[in-house]
Symmetry: C2
Subunit: 338 residues, 2 copies
């Protein structure tokens, strides 16, 4: 059986089952582990607090192309996407490690530009770059590991309950629109282009949004990396619940509707790489969040007690629709990369 046949999520499920069945869990590390494989970050008890760690790999050709990506943006984004994961757990990011593999013929100046982008994002979010390593490879590969701490209780994917409202921050779909505009070299006005391009190349997680949401009492969150539908499905599967969405309630950015009249609903639902938080909470907690957080999130649906993992979407006329492509799976979409 080939990897692309079962896809990224199928492979992760098999690996998680293997780790679960073959690991010797009679150790301090296993006993202190709070959240293992399958959430935005791992979490464990340490010295009376909670420590977090997440990791993400960016591969030239798969995750970015240097033809339309500035090195500074690449450095910024490589760490920003990990900040989003720490926030999705309710944590505060702390230490970043940078693993870099690249051809020896690359320019040192480009590497310095990339690190300037990394330092800029770290300065904004209070992170220290504490180490890493460098080696040779044919393509540029960047792996970031980011630690964090959680003062309040953790937000996870597995805690959603029937009756919870579902909300998102910002305007999902803008990153996918930016990628589309960059790849197809669409001739948009400079202001539109800048906004869409930045949504894709220079994502800025909302400062401290994770700890703030956790402090409001939110227990369930995920960052939108694979796409609204796919990431909501991750929550529904982990929490063994289902969900209802209404397209009329989705937050639609005016530029998205203007430039992608045919596709904008699909882009919002399946675009991915938005690095905004999607979360669920009972009405009372949601009211607190909407009162406290500015700009407030948008309520887009609710958690229901149906078949685990199932999502029903009601279109503008109130008819249920299904969307085939639920988001980004590195293999299901990209077998040709094999």
């Amino acid at each position: 059986m080939r990897v692309f046949e079962i896809g990224e999520f199928g492979l992760i499920a098999k690996i998680a089952a293997l780790i679960d069945s073959k690991s010797n869990k009679n150790t301090d590390s296993w006993k202190n582990l709070l959240i293992g494989v399958g959430d935005d970050a791992a979490a464990w008890k340490a010295h009376g607090g909670i420590e977090l760690i997440t990791t993400d790999i960016l591969v030239e050709g798969t995750h970015f192309r240097l033809s339309y990506t500035e090195w500074h943006d690449l450095g910024w984004k490589s760490i920003a996407i990990n900040i989003s994961d720490i926030y999705a757990m309710g944590g505060k990011p702390q230490y970043a490690l940078v693993s870099l593999a690249m051809p020896g013929l690359r320019e040192v100046e480009n590497v310095m530009e990339m690190f300037e982008g990394m330092i800029d994002v770290c300065n904004k979010y209070g992170i220290a770059i504490a180490g890493g390593n460098i080696s040779a490879s044919e393509n540029v590969v960047i792996n970031i590991s980011l630690t964090g701490i959680a003062e309040n209780s953790l937000m996870t994917r597995s805690s959603a309950k029937a009756g919870d409202l579902i909300a998102v921050f910002g305007y999902p779909g803008l990153s996918a629109a930016g990628l589309n505009a960059l790849k197809n070299q669409r001739n948009l006005d400079p202001e539109s282009m800048k906004l869409l391009k930045n949504a894709h190349l220079h994502p800025e997680p909302r400062l401290d949004i994770g700890p703030k949401l956790a402090a409001c009492g939110v227990k369930t969150a995920i960052d939108i990396s694979d796409g609204v539908l796919s990431d909501l499905a991750h929550i529904c599967e982990a929490s063994k619940v289902s969900a209802v969405l209404r397209t009329k309630d989705l937050p639609v950015h005016p530029l998205l509707k203007q430039h992608f009249q045919q596709d904008y609903i699909d882009m919002i639902l399946t675009g991915g790489e938005d690095y905004e938080l999607l979360f669920t909470a009972p009405r009372q907690v949601m009211d607190t969040v909407i009162e406290v957080m500015k700009p407030a999130p948008t309520i887009i649906g609710e958690i229901t007690a149906g078949k685990p993992g199932e999502i029903t979407i009601f279109d503008a006329e109130g008819k249920p629709i299904t969307v085939d492509n639920r988001g980004w799976d590195h293999y299901k979409r990209a077998p040709s990369n094999g």
Copy 2:
């Protein structure tokens, strides 16, 4: 300027200087950082204890070839080399994150074999695999991040003092000999081949050696990944001291001398990937280590107060010699990979 012109260590020095000059250090994360860029692992104060983290990337073609590497060994080694880094700081490994990028056409069974190797090494050393991520790429790339805790004081690269004795565990050079035998398909007897092959493909850090050395009072250690000379030079540079080695005092494995009569001293000094610890300590501490640890390390030289980073090697006749190739630099040796 191209990366291969300044090499891996030149590039790391430039990056470290950039991080040092441009980071906003007026943050909790910077204030609690004990060891940043430039040691085997990063270390920081957390909740009254010390947390550690290290990361390493393995790239197909650069670090391993699937033509002579079993998937199980690949999984084992990818985590073992990070355990060695945590031990080199005096820490105990805790949580591993696995970032994996590979072509979709690879066999799921191979990925499972690799994770079985990872789980085996984690079970031996009391580590929990706590997460990671998977994506597509043209070559297989594995990045491991490993956390740890330090109960005793840390061992670093920067604490060596003139008068310290220098010692190593085990038999450096066996890994390089194994790689040589594998690459050149040398026709050795099965027992020799097995030992050399395992030294390269299946390194086994000595269990708990890091915490044990730290408990003896050792303050200075490094794991031999680049090679004895190169890694000793890292200590000398970080500690602003020099060193003297005597080839007659090097630990020589009989098989190494037997099969590599011309090269065995070079292999011991510059081979790399041994994942044994090299450390320095005053005579009294060294006596304790040699009494307590079985098998005991071998004293190979001493730290002196000369030019920072300089290493003088005395050959069998007591004449000083110089060795050009000080160890593994991913770019200086491999510009053709660019």
